[in-house]
């Protein structure tokens, strides 16, 4: 079908609002966007290819480097898949420590996503506030795991290092401080009239189109779909986890879902700290052969590892499905279409929190 287009505006690969290289081609008529196309391929490293045939000790570190922002969950899903294949049990203390590390990672990722959104709509004050409390979360993550970004905290049969009692107290004191600040910043976002002008009713993704596009994570939960892989996880079940859902379907709802999830994460960490009982943090076991498909909830949505191992614990086949690819597609086909001006394209794109590094791997 032939379509009349005024001008074809390319955004990226190097763009002030995008953290990573992706090219977004918008077909416009006047100021209105009538079609969009995303062009990937700047970040393809072929991680799955170099993972094949390597022992899990090496693949563990490669899995972590699929995505630097959500490195803990990549580590966790890969290790739990290996554990499920081999029938290795995790001590209860280690399972709770995994939840703490994972939720701290989710917090810093959501804060970064909300920072990017506020930066894109030019609300630099709130963006800097969020980046400032993100540093406190990074400190806690570093104190727990020993590294800021790629921490390799989770190993088969447990976790790498224990949390000391004084660190526990520091963590809960720091969580109180973070929650106080976070509450204030969420209120600022909720009630800011200028923020509402740039966010409410922009980048609409209705529930039907969200189901059609198979969106995952906070993007789906902002459109009223209660999908969260954490509800299937045994440790989260014990902590009575319930997903956060909003029905706004716009940029504002997506950012507010992340703010609500930050509070939920703080609650989960507090519960885990309270439930933490003394005991060992590493069990034993032998990695065996088998095939498994296993999913977990990354900060951006469902993350699936499909693994085949051989009897020596080497990874024979591996396939990774990351959340962002569905969200990027939904962004191009539904959210961006019909926005009032080109200025809203970047904010709608950033509100879905696309992660190009894990999309292309």
């Amino acid at each position: 079908m032939k379509r009349t287009v005024d001008v074809n505006i390319p955004l990226g690969p190097i763009h002030p609002c995008f953290k990573e290289p992706a090219r977004l081609k918008c077909e416009t008529r006047g100021e209105r966007v009538i079609g969009a196309e995303v062009e990937l391929g700047y970040m393809k490293k072929g991680i799955e290819r170099i993972m094949k045939g390597r022992p899990w000790q090496e693949v563990m570190f490669l899995a972590e480097r699929v995505c630097g922002i959500c490195s803990v969950i990549h580590n966790m899903v890969f290790i739990e898949a290996i554990e499920k294949i081999s029938g290795i049990e995790v001590p209860p203390r280690a399972a709770l420590l995994r939840v703490i590390a994972n939720e701290l990672d989710r917090m810093q990722s959501h804060m970064l996503a909300n920072f990017s959104y506020c930066y894109t709509i030019e609300h630099e004050t709130l963006a800097m506030y969020l980046l400032d409390i993100r540093e406190q979360v990074m400190d806690e993550l570093e104190r727990l795991t020993g590294a800021r970004v790629t921490c390799a905290y989770i190993v088969p049969g447990g976790v790498r290092c224990d949390i000391r009692n004084e660190d526990r107290d520091t963590l809960s004191a720091s969580l109180d401080r973070i929650e106080h600040d976070l509450h204030r910043y969420a209120k600022m976002f909720e009630t800011g009239p200028m923020i509402a002008l740039r966010s409410k009713g922009i980048g609409i993704l209705t529930e039907e189109s969200a189901l059609q596009a198979h969106v995952v994570g906070p993007t789906a939960r902002a459109s009223g779909i209660a999908v969260d892989m954490r509800t299937n996880h045994p440790t989260y079940r014990k902590l009575n986890f319930a997903p956060v859902v909003r029905h706004g379907c716009d940029n504002y709802a997506r950012v507010m879902v992340r703010f609500d999830e930050l509070s939920a994460s703080i609650g989960l960490i507090r519960q885990s700290l309270r439930a933490l009982s003394p005991g060992v943090i590493r069990g034993g076991g032998i990695c065996k052969a088998g095939t498994l498909r296993y999913s977990g909830e990354a900060p951006r949505g469902e993350l699936t590892y499909s693994i085949t191992t051989d009897e020596y614990g080497r990874v024979a086949e591996i396939q990774i499905q990351t959340p962002s690819i569905m969200n990027i597609e939904a962004c191009c086909h539904y959210m961006i279409i019909g926005v009032d001006s080109i200025a809203d394209v970047t904010s709608a794109f950033v509100s879905a929190d696309p992660c190009i590094a894990c999309t292309e791997r």
Partner: protein
């Protein structure tokens, strides 16, 4: 050194525009560069301003193991930056390929094969303070007396 040169040096040392380009990293170094913007590290107190426009930039931060998609494009970005300019490689990947430099991967490290690199910051990922001190160390060696060095 003339007065004009001294003024130029002073102004340049307090106004460094940074652009960053991701040529196939895992995002870990990207977020550490973003963390430099945080009030804790406060990159702007040194007169460093991070934005992603190569045409206004003085320093290019290169992140990542150089994927094949960037084959000619990184050179184009580098040519767009006005003189005097410097490129800094952030992280292990642009220096050696890091964990990605294995048989079967689609990367072509090091980045210094493709554009001239002035400084390297190893680490997986380096801390924000290390990135900051690398940018500040470039300041005097590359930008001071640039016109004199050209003669």
């Amino acid at each position: 050194m003339t007065l004009l040169q001294r003024i130029k040096d002073l102004v340049r040392s307090r106004s460094i525009h940074v652009s960053y380009v991701d040529v196939g990293s895992c995002n870990g170094c990207d977020i550490e560069i973003l963390a430099c913007l945080a009030p804790r590290y406060d990159i702007e107190q040194y007169g460093i301003y991070v934005h992603n426009n190569p045409r206004e930039a003085d320093v290019l931060l290169v992140v990542g193991a150089f994927t094949l998609g960037w084959e000619e494009k990184l050179k184009m970005v580098w040519d767009k930056i006005p003189e005097p300019k410097a490129a800094i490689a952030i992280g292990n990947c642009p220096i050696s390929g890091g964990v990605f430099d294995r048989r079967g991967s689609y990367v072509d490290p090091p980045v210094s094969k493709h554009i001239p690199i002035a400084a390297e910051v190893p680490g997986c990922p380096p801390r924000p303070t290390e990135i900051l001190s690398a940018i500040l160390s470039i300041r005097d060696t590359v930008f001071a007396g640039w016109e004199v060095k050209q003669r």
